[in-house]
Symmetry: C2
Subunit: 304 residues, 2 copies
């Protein structure tokens, strides 16, 4: 089953204590689409400016990412610039130029509207809802969000939640959203607000998944060196959604568990290089191998 | 195989945002001994004052904890008082009265010296070394430590490390000890300084285990309410050591994995009530049941 993905497409300038790269492909939809494409065909919705490299459209085509839904607007592509602190855990946004993204209203092409699996990557909740409004009969909806929307458009986010099957957010966002210190309480409280499933990402500490009477916890793939954490969460969401879509529209909790691991595996590759560089050359067999290593590192009762 | 455990025995006064209890049994050896006793007989080494409740000796006896090595000194028992912040993650030490602990030199009774399995619970590294010096031929040595010793008696700690098979410490201590942000780098660096295995505790985020070419990562048991985090790390160390000792003196990496889970399970019970109260009534079948729940929450490829 293919995944419709909507989100931001940007050209990022990222600085870490050791490197700096300008105008690299970024944005929530770019990361999510590439992550999902390892498991399912992708239909991409977004907007780029007239300065956006044509080569990226060719790359998407080569990866089974349908870019019919990517509008080409007059003006410059959305630009974001950020700098990571020495520990790579905190970052500061240096500048944001919304450009063509400022007036973006996602139009879902007619050929996309029957898509049953939707990933609303991180953009304003009102835009996420606008995409859902155009879908004929989505069977499974995944949404990602961020602190900005919790702080500035909370009503829109709250209205979206009952329409979401799986909400993905990080630990600080879950705490901020619920005012709960305990992530266990936070996860359950968010579930009660609408989403059937909630995944809380904890960065280097892994992720938690909450279902109605189900709970799953996994660590992160251990990495000694992180080159660029940008897009790790979007890649996680994309990988998770892509894997779930590949299982069909009615995933079991066992599917969710494996989807979280595949999301973690893809995110671990993503941070090994700047922008999407590592993901561009990533091979399926590398994903499967890291999945197996992941399993061997986290099982304590191996039935063989 | 029995476990010799040395550490502090204290009477603690603990305040949380909701409760306060005075003069409750505490200290690293008290928690570790009770944790270990669920799996192996314990030989306890420590010191108490003449105000120490006789009932605790009777309790130890009932739990197969041999207290012949607990000196009864003239004066008051070591007292510690602390207060937890609203989130239960940070605590402030309000007062410390070393009392009889100030001049404590752990004497290992003759009947203990043949013990092959030793847990050096958290006390000054010089005292931990003094205990090892008295042992005839220890086969497996576990040591716990804390920030205080990393900061004040680093040379003693460094000298101890090559004598240790498994070092247990928490994430902030591992970072402080190695000046590494990455826990993966920190764990490997500490291993290179001597211990064959290193376990890094991450509180609510679980724990990591490093062997020569082996790595294991597990989450924490999910708890909504924590009543008193005091002693969780000591209980983890005790449970881990007790389980390993029960497997004999030459544990496999699979034994280590399960030992980490049992340590986590015991720590999760410990924080459900003040002091050692939950641990006093804990039953073996409750431990096994939580172990099974733990497994079901963390497996993603169940081979059945």
């Amino acid at each position: 089953m293919s995944v419709l993905i909507v989100g931001s497409i940007a050209l990022d300038t990222v600085k870490t204590p050791v490197e700096e790269h300008a105008d690299q492909l970024g944005g929530s939809a770019s990361y999510a689409a590439l992550g999902a494409s390892f498991f399912s065909p992708v239909k991409l919705v977004g907007v780029v400016g007239d300065d956006f490299p044509e080569s990226e459209f060719e790359f998407w085509k080569s990866r089974n990412i349908d870019a019919e839904g990517v509008q080409r607007a007059q003006g410059k592509t959305f630009r974001w610039s950020g700098e990571y602190a020495w520990d790579m855990n905190t970052r500061e946004t240096k500048s944001v130029a919304l450009n063509v993204f400022e007036t973006f209203r996602p139009d879902v092409p007619a050929s996309y509207r029957k898509s049953e699996f939707v990933l609303l990557a991180n953009i304003a909740p009102a835009l996420q809802a606008h995409v859902l409004d155009q879908m004929e009969k989505p069977r499974f909806v995944v949404a990602d969000t961020m602190d900005l929307w919790i702080e500035t458009t909370r009503a829109d986010l709250d209205a979206l939640l009952p329409r979401v099957d799986l909400l993905i957010l990080n630990d600080s966002e879950a705490r901020e959203m619920t005012k709960e210190t305990s992530l266990i309480k936070a996860g359950r409280k968010i579930r009660a607000a609408g989403p059937k499933y909630v995944a809380i990402k904890k960065g280097e500490h892994g992720a938690l998944l909450f279902g109605e009477n189900e709970f799953f916890s996994c660590g992160a793939y251990p990495l000694e060196d992180i080159h660029d954490p940008t897009g790790a969460g979007d890649t996680f969401a994309g990988g998770m959604a892509g894997y779930l879509a590949a299982q069909g529209g009615d995933p079991t909790f066992a599917d969710f568990r494996r989807a979280m691991i595949y999301g973690s595996v893809l995110a671990s590759f993503n941070v090994e290089a700047f922008s999407l560089e590592r993901m561009r050359t990533l091979q399926q067999h590398e994903i499967e191998e890291r999945y197996r290593v992941f399993r061997s590192m986290s099982q304590f009762e191996v039935v063989t």
